[in-house]
């Protein structure tokens, strides 16, 4: 050990050969060192050790250096298309009557009949009406020479913030517009102007506009600006299916237009940017394993999940071992009725179907809405209490043979008290088998915990465990599309459990050279 080049020379480096009977030629190794040496000769065990070390580093150190928190959620902007406005082209006559005049629906029907048959006059309730076609789809109905009402398809809208326009203004404006003309007109003693776009202008002020399109807002509390309507009409006239518009507030949105031919409705969808959880985002430099269903960083969840899985494994095994060693030790040392009683308890525990029981308890905790943290404690207790009988049996079996040996007679002769005899002289002799069993059961406890968490009955959100991360595959879309959600967690679990099993196997062979390998 001191000199690796030539173990047969003296420590002081002199080249003098040692005699064959010299003690220094014999390398002595303590039993512990022998075990270590045998362990490291086993390739599988070393691989297992490396795997475990990697998983521990990943879980415990990784969580510390990860820039994100365990339940830190990430958001992203996505574009959502929402129906913004619906546009219809007016195909029906609208009617406006002059102030103080009546032009009811019955009279309107009479007018329609006259208009369809091309008559220029009709009679209703002993009143004679004259119909004059003053422009395209624009009729003036008058009685006794005075205009009484107008019927039109091009709608006159008042500008935002302006009361409805007077009858005369509408009449004169439409008279010009429906004939395709633009120019000045006067009505009610004031001068107005109508331009080619259908705007009704007085001086500098735009009072209203004429348009055949009816624009309805589909979003609550949003009124559609005149500017947008104009733009929209322009785009509709050009048969455009997509356009971009910058609103008065300076925000630019994309709009898409679809036309429903049967209902004669254009519906305009607005693309809005929405702030949402960054769900199932693909692996990127920011999130090397993407994000999960809650928009949390997968790699970080995996690290914290590893912590939870490993810690649960250790605590459960510690509970099992403490209980098992105490019960097994008592049973083996005292024998007789104590042994009988404890072994019957062990039999009972062996007979309890543990998986169904844990599932029922898990479902009950679901029903009682137990806090996730408390729940984790319960889970560890349940697994530990259900797991001790195997260790008790092992310890008892070993102690039964050990207590007949001479050194035990010696302890008795020395008058050492019983608890000391059991825990100081008997138990240490069981430690090798105990270590092996504990290592192996660490793996199986982690599997059980993962299975329960996978079923949604173990570790619960917001805590991560490798099992409940894989739980996401219950959604078949995740199963097929988002491999990065569940495959890494499964591989981590496999590596950790495999590591424990390899190491346990290697330890067994190292402790017990009779068992080969």
């Amino acid at each position: 050990m001191s000199d690796t080049k030539n173990p047969y020379t003296q420590d002081n480096g002199s080249a003098e050969e040692l005699s064959l009977s010299d003690d220094r030629r014999v390398k002595t190794l303590s039993p512990g060192m022998l075990v270590v040496k045998r362990f490291f000769r086993n390739r599988l065990a070393v691989v297992g050790l490396v795997m475990l070390a990697a998983m521990f580093l990943f879980s415990f150190v990784g969580g510390m250096i990860s820039p994100y928190g365990q339940d830190e959620q990430f958001y992203t902007y996505t574009y959502l298309e929402k129906e913004y406005v619906g546009v219809t082209q007016n195909e029906d006559f609208r009617y406006v009557s002059a102030e103080g005049q009546e032009f009811g629906s019955a009279a309107q029907a009479q007018f329609l009949m006259a208009q369809m048959t091309g008559k220029t006059e009709f009679e209703y309730k002993d009143v004679a009406y004259e119909v004059e076609q003053a422009g395209t789809d624009f009729y003036v109905v008058s009685s006794a020479g005075a205009p009484l009402a107008i019927a039109y398809k091009d709608i006159v809208n008042a500008s935002d913030g302006i009361d409805d326009l007077a009858f005369e203004v509408k009449l004169e404006a439409l008279r010009l517009y429906t004939n395709g003309e633009a120019g000045a007109f006067s009505a009610g003693g004031q001068d107005y102007e109508v331009d080619e776009g259908g705007n009704i202008i007085q001086g500098e002020e735009v009072l209203g506009y004429i348009s055949r399109f009816v624009v309805q807002s589909k979003v609550n509390g949003v009124s559609i600006s005149r500017d947008f309507k104009e733009r929209l009409e322009e785009e509709l006239a050009n048969d455009v299916s997509e356009f971009t518009y910058t609103g008065a507030d300076g925000e630019e949105h994309n709009y898409t237009v679809t036309y429903d031919a049967s209902a004669k409705i254009w519906s305009v969808m607005q693309e809005t940017e929405t702030y949402v959880y960054n769900q199932y985002s693909n692996p990127s430099s920011e999130h090397p394993l993407g994000t999960d269903t809650n928009g949390m960083d997968m790699l970080t969840r995996l690290m914290y999940g590893g912590r939870v899985s490993l810690i649960i494994g250790f605590i459960v095994v510690i509970i099992e071992t403490v209980l098992g060693v105490i019960m097994g030790g008592l049973s083996g040392y005292f024998g007789g009725w104590v042994d009988n009683l404890i072994m019957r308890i062990v039999d009972v525990f062996y007979c309890i179907p543990s998986m169904p029981l844990i599932i029922i308890l898990g479902a009950a905790m679901d029903g009682m809405r137990v806090d996730p943290q408390v729940r984790m404690l319960y889970l560890m207790l349940i697994l530990g209490v259900l797991g001790w009988p195997a260790i008790a049996r092992l310890v008892r079996g070993q102690i039964l043979s050990l207590r007949e040996q001479e050194f035990m007679t010696a302890t008795e002769a020395c008058g050492i008290r019983i608890s000391r005899r059991i825990f100081k002289h008997l138990i240490p002799n069981v430690i090798p088998q105990l270590i092996v069993t504990c290592t192996m059961s660490l793996g199986s406890v982690m599997l059980t915990e993962a299975t329960l968490s996978f079923l949604g009955l173990g570790v619960k959100f917001p805590f991560a465990s490798w099992g409940n991360i894989i739980n996401d595959v219950n959604n078949s879309y995740v199963l097929t599309t988002y491999w990065f959600i569940w495959i890494p967690a499964g591989i981590c679990l496999l590596i950790a459990v495999l590591g424990f099993n390899f190491v346990g196997d290697g330890l067994r062979d190292a402790f017990d050279p009779r068992m080969k390998r």
Partner: protein, 328 residues
Amino acid sequence: MRNYIIKRILLSILILFCVTFIIYAVLRCLPASYVETMAMQLSAAPGAKPYDEWIAQLNASYGLDKGIIAGWLTWLQDFATGHFGDSWKFTVPVIEKFNDVIWLSFVMGAIALVLELLIAIPLGIIAATKQYSRADYAITAGALIGISLPPFFFATLLKLVFAVKLQWFDVSGLVGRNFAQLDSLGQFMDKANHLFLPIVTLVITSIGALMRYTRTNMLEVLNADYIRTARAKGLSESKVIYKHAFRNTLIPLVTIIGGSLPGLFTGALITETLFSIPGMGWTSYQAMVIGDIPFSMFYMTFIAVLTLLSNLLTDIVYAVVDPRVRIA
């Protein structure tokens, strides 16, 4: 021998009493949410009795109004006289539901067990006879990987590869969409097709333990004096291994096979649930998750009885096949 068996049976019955009492106590201590939900539903019906009366009646009919010990004794009496109750979840007698689903699980489990034995024993023997060889390393590592594979992860992986990507099998269920139109051979093939992935999952995840057990036992046998004698008298290696060693290896296997017998009837909970195979495992999972006390109680007692029976059977068979074992 007879005395031993009688003693064991009596002991088993005592253990069974304890186990059922523990299970009953645990189930009784849970919030009886199912009964409350049912009472709520029943009282919501037009012209129905008020909730309080319904819940009292339901509790009385399920024996939930008595103390735990009295309730357990009532349950025990019903159980002993063959009244197993009606499942709350499936609203049929528990025994009827059991009869419906148990055989599927049994067939699945039996096929898986036979396959396991056929694969694991030869591989275990090869590993032991060629100890330290590459084959031995591969088999040992393979066995440990099998033990370490989380069944739910492995099953999901199989689903992804063979059902989703390659589309050789359906993702879940026992029968395909056009099952009703198939002739009897076609129906059989359809079911076989659907059971393929679950059985593969079962075999792979439980083969490891058997393989290691075989290897360890074989190694022990190969070190025995009578094997050295067999070699010393000049027998061929194959004769030594397959005639002298192999037979002795089979004896300890009785234990592990006996131990896996209850599993045939109790179903594979995870595998069946993942593949939606309507066997014992999935059915019991559904019942247990909603707190179906009659079903869960019967299911767990059933497992306990099977476990005790298989232990007893294993010990007896062991004594029969191994003349070195004497039981008093």
